[in-house]
Symmetry: C2
Amino acid sequence: MAGETRGLTLVFTGNGKGKTTAALGMALRAWGQGLNVLILQFIKGGWKYGELKAAGRLGTGFEMRQLGEGFIRDTGEEGMEEHRRAAQKALEEARRAVLEGKHDMVILDEINYAVHYGLVDLADVLEIIRSKPSRLHLVLTGRNAAQEVVEAADLVTEMREVKHPFAAGIPAQKGIEY
Amino acid sequence: MAGETRGLTLVFTGNGKGKTTAALGMALRAWGQGLNVLILQFIKGGWKYGELKAAGRLGTGFEMRQLGEGFIRDTGEEGMEEHRRAAQKALEEARRAVLEGKHDMVILDEINYAVHYGLVDLADVLEIIRSKPSRLHLVLTGRNAAQEVVEAADLVTEMREVKHPFAAGIPAQKGIEY
């Protein structure tokens, strides 16, 4: 029906820069339209001060919650267990946020990465996609999106790295990398 | 030198959704850091109400200017001439904004597309990249980025379309497409 809100499931994946960044841009656009946006972070470290400060400055209707542990370096059993526990808690919060219907857009940042590393079950993510209210926009980011997530999504973009400044020895820059 | 700002040249290209969106996210992150951001639009129609309203709500330090004509449908000579004139004006404004040094980040939205369609000379764009102040972050978006622009950039991501809802007959959604 014309004008009716059809909530989309969007996926930003691939090895290039721009996945979380595009999700942030999408959140900003939606917020500009007066939509109520929630961003949940599955892997801590993907966000830096730039977006957190921005969220603080935007105020109402734009909320970010850091939930996960940092990027996976320690792959020892104990380290993985901690990551898994944090990711499971994030998943619970995602499920609640998606089902409670208070938001117009929910962004699950780095959830694909969490699935890829076995921190979160693919079946649980697919269940969240299937059970989301029809008007909710759901955005899933992170490299290595599972094929089943791609199939369940309405829009999928792969961010492919063509060139990255770290490879040229340029350090991370304020406002770009953090 | 550690901590010194090294302005980067970033390119978001490819046929997938997320180029302008990632530029917006980058602008939001930079704005969150207190940087002064200017976004110039070379092809009107790429932006919709979402980002324009958001820019209005963000206020100081986040400015968007619509400069170009709409997307190219009429390829007749007269139509192209109008597009070219608008794009040249946008180029002038871009040059001025880059050189005057009042901003920390300048985003030239859809400039790659404008070059591809011959509305703007590649040499002029390369000259802007070369002459930018060293601390300025310059972001160029649009599909079909010229190889020379890719070579001149520090970071390049290709947004590759894997799946798009329009293909499935789903109309544009508020907060997503506009």
